[in-house]
């Protein structure tokens, strides 16, 4: 059965009128009339019936406040012993398992110059730099590719710039591992618990099937303490606010020449190396 021009126009007119009467019409004529966002109760009003009284949540008043967290690693001060101390502290306090082989989990580790700064290859560079073991970790990029590719928003960027993982939401798709140009993320191919030498009971472990990485010790910043690596490295790793021109970190960056890992990729890493 064919539809002639007259019938088609009628049908189109009726459909348009019906469409206007629906949600689209409301949006067009009275924008915001259907938005429930403002009237939505907060999670606590939702879960607590009125008679439970008023409850509240707040950040810890002792927390460290920063607009944009970053770290400076001073390669002149970073001795192998200090690097080892930082790695051991991080591994112990975050229950990072030691799994032999390719399935190992890394939060912070060391790598040679050629792997850390592959584009700056130079056969006649200072051998002291060339042979040094650089300490590497998540760069907490300003423009993090891992966050862009995560399909569940399990990894996200906090307002203070820290790229965080929400293990509860991670589905283990490993897009973030493909997205990260620094290899900062590790996947739990198996239950990590048997591979943790000594469990630190105040911090959770991870389960099989999630990706994990350095969090700039978000749990320590929240109670007003510096990250473990910065604390034990004896001044070789300086943690601070990149946005605060008066911070110790910014003074170091002004005084000394610093380089960043793969800056040409546009990820804007926030870990700086003083060489």
């Amino acid at each position: 059965m064919g539809v002639d021009r007259r019938k088609f126009l009628k049908l189109a007119g009726v459909s348009a009128a019906l469409g206007l009467g629906g949600a689209t019409g409301f949006q067009l004529l009275r924008p915001g009339a259907l938005d429930a966002a403002e009237r939505m109760p907060t999670p606590y009003q939702m879960i607590f019936p009125k008679e439970q009284g008023n409850t509240d949540v707040m950040p810890n008043p002792k927390r460290l406040k920063g607009r944009r967290w970053g770290m400076v690693i001073d390669m002149r001060k970073l001795t192998p012993a200090k690097a080892r101390a930082a790695i051991e502290a991080c591994d112990y306090y975050h229950n990072v398992p030691q799994i032999p082989g390719k399935q190992n989990i890394k939060w912070i580790w060391t790598a040679p110059y050629i792997n850390v700064f592959p584009e700056t290859e130079n056969p006649w560079a200072d051998p002291e730099i060339k042979n040094a073991q650089f300490i590497v970790m998540c760069n907490h990029c300003n423009n993090p590719p891992c966050v862009r590719v995560c399909p569940t928003k399990a990894t996200f960027q906090r307002e203070d710039g820290i790229v965080m993982m929400d293990m509860h939401r991670c589905i283990g798709c490993r897009f973030c591992m493909a997205g990260c140009p620094y290899g900062s993320r590790s996947f739990n191919f198996r239950d990590p618990r048997p591979f943790i030498k000594k469990e630190y009971l105040d911090y959770p472990t991870r389960s099989k099937g999630v990706v994990e990485k350095c969090t700039f010790c978000a749990e320590r910043l929240a109670v007003g303490k510096l990250p473990y690596c910065a604390e034990v490295s004896g001044g070789a790793m300086v943690f601070g606010d990149v946005d605060d021109a008066g911070s110790e970190l910014r003074q170091l960056l002004r005084k000394r020449y610093s380089i960043r890992r793969k800056p040409n990729l546009g990820t804007d890493p926030q870990v700086f190396y003083l060489v």
Binding site: P43, Y44, I47, F48, P49, Q52, G53, N54, T55, D56, V57, M58, P59, N60, P61, R63, F156, R158, M164, D166, M167, H168, E199, L201, D202, Y203, P204, T205, R206, S207, K208, A218, A222, V223
Partner: protein
């Protein structure tokens, strides 16, 4: 009816097997769980009243989790004005120190297996002096 003997025997056997869980458990109701509350010397009240915690602790924990991980809000002020650090292992299990005698009682009775413990640590039960 052809082969009625075989068919009826078969049906009786089928019904006997099919209803086995019903009659084998007859009169053997599983005991009602009795989660053991922490002694009064440790704590006299929880972050919310008992009825609310009994029915909705899982909702509270989910909201706490989002507040802590995503918003960075780690302090919870309960209705009576007391402040708590929002942490499963370090706050909830601080008072309810024996998971087997508290959490597992109802969870096992209702056959629910929350996966909190895959990651969150269970403190070893404190030994009684």
């Amino acid at each position: 009816m052809y082969d009625s003997g075989k068919i009826i025997t078969g049906l009786v056997i089928f019904l006997a097997i099919f209803t086995y869980p019903l009659w084998s458990n007859m009169g053997k109701a599983a005991p009602v769980p009795k989660p053991e509350l922490p002694p009064k010397s440790v704590a006299t009240q929880c972050v919310a009243d008992t009825n609310y915690m009994r029915t909705s602790h899982m909702t509270l924990l989910n909201v706490w989790r989002d507040d802590v991980v995503r918003m960075g809000d780690r302090v919870y002020v309960s209705a009576n004005g007391k402040a708590y650090n929002m942490s499963l292992t370090n706050t909830c299990l601080e008072c309810h120190s024996d998971k087997v005698k508290f959490c597992d009682q109802c969870h096992n009775y209702l056959a629910v297996a929350p996966f909190c413990w895959d990651c969150h640590q269970v403190p070893k039960p404190k030994e009684k002096e």
